[in-house]
Symmetry: C2
Subunit: 407 residues, 2 copies
C-alpha cells in the first residue's frame, strides 16, 4: 500500500506574520458544513447573502460583489485581465512588492504600463498621484492599498477623485486591509476592489472577494463572451476583444453569480461558507469596532517593540495598523530568532522580501489575532528569544508598555 | 447594523448529480484544522506529502505533482496557458461540453486550434485519433478523459502512444474521473493531467491536483520568469515567451512547491488539508477497490433505471462508471422531477447542457456517494416521484434490481 502519512494534526501556532493568520474558530467550523450543489436554491441563497455581506464589508452598493475562487492574487488577476485590453495605458504607483506584482500582471495582460515609485517605507503624496494621473491620462490606475511588504498604506480618496476627473478607472488591491482598515469603496470612488480572507477577514486563503461598480461593468461587459455549449439567443456577446482568461473572465463570473446562473466554474462550496462567515463576524463586530481593534493592537505592539529597544520601520504616519515592520537589531540573527519563536513558543512572525530582506521582521496583528493576549504573548516570546541571543533589553518592558497602551 | 442572515445551516442533501457530491466526513473535518503559515516547516511537509499522495492517485513518478489553488477549471487553464505558446497548433478531440471548454481556453491562449468532433454520447475510435494526430502534427493534444456532459469516457492509451510517436504533448482533463476510473499517467504516456476534488475524490471544489512530466516541464521552464522583487541571481529565467497568466504560471507554481519555496500565491491552507485527506482516503481504500466500487454503483444504478422502465443515454461501452445519463421519459417534466426529488427527498440529480438539455437527467455515483445505500435511496425516491407524475412503473422494481446487482 502507498505511504499514507499520519493523520492531519497541525501544531497550534499563533500566526503573527503577514498572513495567513489564525482563522476565527467560527470560520473553521463553517467549512465542515455539508456541501450543497451549485444550483441548489439554498446554495444560490448563500451566494446572494455572501454578496450582500461583502457589500457591507466593502462599504458599497455595487450589485457585482462576489467571490473569485482562488487566493487573493486570483482576484487581482481577474480584475486586471478583465479590465485591461491589450495596449491600454495603465498607471501603477509602486511602493512595495505588491505594486510590482500589479505591474507584472498588467504587463502580462498586454498593458502599456507606466510606473511611478517611491522608496520602500513611504507612500505617495496625493498631489504626486493627481499630477501623474493628469499627465499620463491612463485608462486604468491600479494600486495596492496596504502593501504588507513595506507595511505602508496608501491613502486613496484623492486618487479616486483624480481618476474620476480624468476618466480613468481605479482598481485597488485591498488584500491586506479589508476588514482591518477603512475602505470606502463608494465614497472614495474606487471602481474595482479585491481582497482575500487570510489577513484581516480572519479566514483561510483560497477565496477572494471582489466588488466592481457600473463604470467597471461597462468596460467588462463589452468583452462578454458566452461559453460554447451554453450559448443561447437570450444573452448577447459583447463587441470588445475577448478576455484572455476563461477562469478569470469577470463577465462570465458575473453571469454565474447573477440570476442567469450560467454555468462556469463550480463555486468552491466550503470556501464560500468560510467567506460568508468571515463577513458575518466582521459585520457583527461592526466595521468601526474592527478598525479600532486593529489600531489598538498596532499601538500596543509598537509601544512594546519600542520599549524593548527596537526601531520601527518606515513612515509611521502611513503604517498599516495590522502589520508592523521592525528593524532586526545589529548583531542579532533574524532568522534564528524566527526559528526560536516557532520552535519554543509556537509563534510565527514574518521575514521580508527584496530590499528589506534580512533587515526587518514583520509582525502582523490581523483579523482574529488583533487581540491583546496575542500581542502580549508575542512580545513576551520575542523578549525571551532576544535575551537568549544576548541582546540587552529591559526585561518585561515590552509587555508592560503594550499592556499600558491597551489601557 | 447590517443584515447578518442566519447561522450557516445547509440541509443534508444527498448529492447524486455530476458534482460537487457530498464530501467524505473525514475531509470536512480536515478543513477545520488550525492554519499554518505557508513557510512553516510543518506546512511545507504537508505540501510534500500531498505531492507524494497524488503521485499515488495519478499513478505517476512525476516530481511535479501539486495543487492549483482554484476549482478544477483553474488547473485546466494553468496547464493550457503554461503549455501553449501563441500560434502553437493544438488538437482538441471534442465529445461534449468540456471538450468545448478546452477549445475555448486554448483559443484564448492564442493557439491555432484544430477540432475533431463526435456526436454527444459517443467517443473516438483509437484509429481516428491516431490518424488525426499523424495528419495535423499538433504541438499539443488536449482532451477530456470523462466528459460529465455526455457521461462518456475516452480511452487514452492509444492516444498517448500516438502523441509520443509524433512528438506532441498530451494534456488530459481528468476532473471527473480521477479516483473513480483507472488513469495510468505514466503507463499511458500522459504528459499533463489535471483534476478536481469534487467528483470521485470525495472533497469540495476549490483545489485542483495537477501532475506533469519532464517533457512538459521542459516546455514550461523555457518560459520561466521570476517575479520582480523576488529576483535573485541564483535562479535563471527562460528564453521563451512569458506565460500570459501570473496566477496560472506553472513555472512559478513549481518554484513555489519546490525547495526553493519562491513566494507566489499563498497556498490555500484548508483546501490543501482537504486535498491531502481526499488522497489518503482513496489510497487507503486502494485504487483498484475504489474503481471497483464506482463500477459496482454504476451497474446497480443502471440496472435499477432499466427496471423502472427508463432508457439509458449514450454508448454504454464507454459510459463513465461514476455518472449515468438517462432519458427523461415522454410526458414527464424533467425539472419538476428534479425539484420534487430535492424538496421531498433531499436528493439532487443533474440536469444537462447544450444538445442534451431537457432530454436527459444525469445521475452521479461519485466518490463518497458511490455507495449501495445512496444508489438505493436515489432509485427509491425517483420511483416515488415518477409515480406521482403518473409515469407507469413496476413499483420497487428499480430498487430490487439494484440490490441484486450489488449482490
Amino acid at each position: 500500500m502507498a505511504e499514507l502519512f499520519e493523520d492531519l494534526n497541525p501544531p497550534q501556532r499563533l500566526l503573527m506574520g503577514p498572513g495567513p493568520v489564525n482563522a476565527h474558530p467560527r470560520v473553521l467550523a463553517a467549512m465542515s458544513a455539508p456541501l450543497l450543489g451549485q444550483f441548489d436554491p439554498q446554495f444560490r441563497e448563500y451566494m446572494k447573502q455572501t454578496s450582500a455581506l461583502y457589500r457591507g464589508v466593502f462599504q458599497t452598493a455595487n450589485r457585482w460583489t462576489l467571490l473569485v475562487d482562488g487566493t487573493a492574487r486570483a482576484a487581482i488577476e481577474a480584475a486586471l485581465v478583465s479590465l485591461i485590453e491589450p495596449g491600454d495605458r495603465v498607471l501603477v504607483p509602486v511602493f512595495g512588492r505588491f505594486g510590482n506584482l500589479i505591474v507584472e500582471i498588467a504587463r502580462r495582460c498586454g498593458a502599456d504600463v507606466r510606473v511611478i515609485e517611491v522608496e520602500w517605507g513611504k507612500v505617495f503624496a496625493d498631489e504626486a498621484l493627481q499630477a501623474t494621473v493628469s499627465r499620463e491620462k491612463p485608462k486604468l490606475v491600479a494600486v495596492c492599498h496596504g502593501d504588507t511588504s513595506t507595511t505602508m498604506a496608501q491613502p486613496l480618496a484623492a486618487l479616486g477623485k483624480a481618476c474620476r476627473e480624468h476618466d480613468a478607472l481605479l482598481y485597488v488591491d485591498a488584500t491586506a486591509t479589508l476588514g482591518g482598515m477603512d475602505i470606502q469603496t463608494d465614497a472614495w470612488q474606487l471602481d474595482v476592489v479585491t481582497a482575500g480572507l487570510q489577513k484581516c477577514m480572519g479566514g483561510p486563503p483560497g477565496s477572494a472577494p471582489l466588488t466592481l461598480n457600473e463604470r467597471a461593468e461597462r468596460r467588462i461587459v463589452r468583452r462578454r463572451h458566452i461559453e460554447a455549449g451554453l450559448q443561447d439567443n437570450k444573452y448577447k456577446a459583447g463587441e470588445g476583444p475577448i478576455i484572455a482568461s476563461n477562469y478569470f473572465d469577470l463577465a462570465m463570473i458575473m453571469d454565474y453569480w447573477s440570476d442567469k446562473a450560467l454555468n462556469h466554474h463550480t463555486e468552491a462550496t466550503s470556501m464560500l461558507y468560510a467567506a460568508r462567515e468571515c463577513a458575518r463576524i466582521v459585520l457583527q463586530e461592526g466595521l468601526a469596532n474592527a478598525f479600532a481593534r486593529h489600531a489598538a493592537a498596532s499601538r500596543a505592539l509598537t509601544a512594546g517593540l519600542k520599549a524593548i529597544g527596537l526601531e520601527l520601520f518606515g513612515d509611521q504616519d502611513h503604517k498599516m495598523p495590522n502589520i508592523t515592520g521592525v528593524h532586526i537589531p545589529r548583531g542579532v540573527d533574524g532568522e534564528a530568532v524566527r526559528r526560536a519563536l516557532l520552535a519554543e513558543h509556537n509563534i510565527e512572525i514574518g521575514t521580508s522580501f527584496g530590499p528589506l530582506h534580512g533587515r526587518i521582521w514583520r509582525i502582523g496583528t490581523m483579523g482574529y489575532n488583533a487581540r491583546e493576549d496575542a500581542v502580549l504573548a508575542t512580545l513576551d516570546a520575542l523578549e525571551a528569544v532576544l535575551a537568549a541571543q544576548k541582546f540587552k533589553l529591559p526585561r518585561r518592558a515590552g509587555v508592560d508598555a503594550a499592556r499600558s497602551a491597551f489601557g
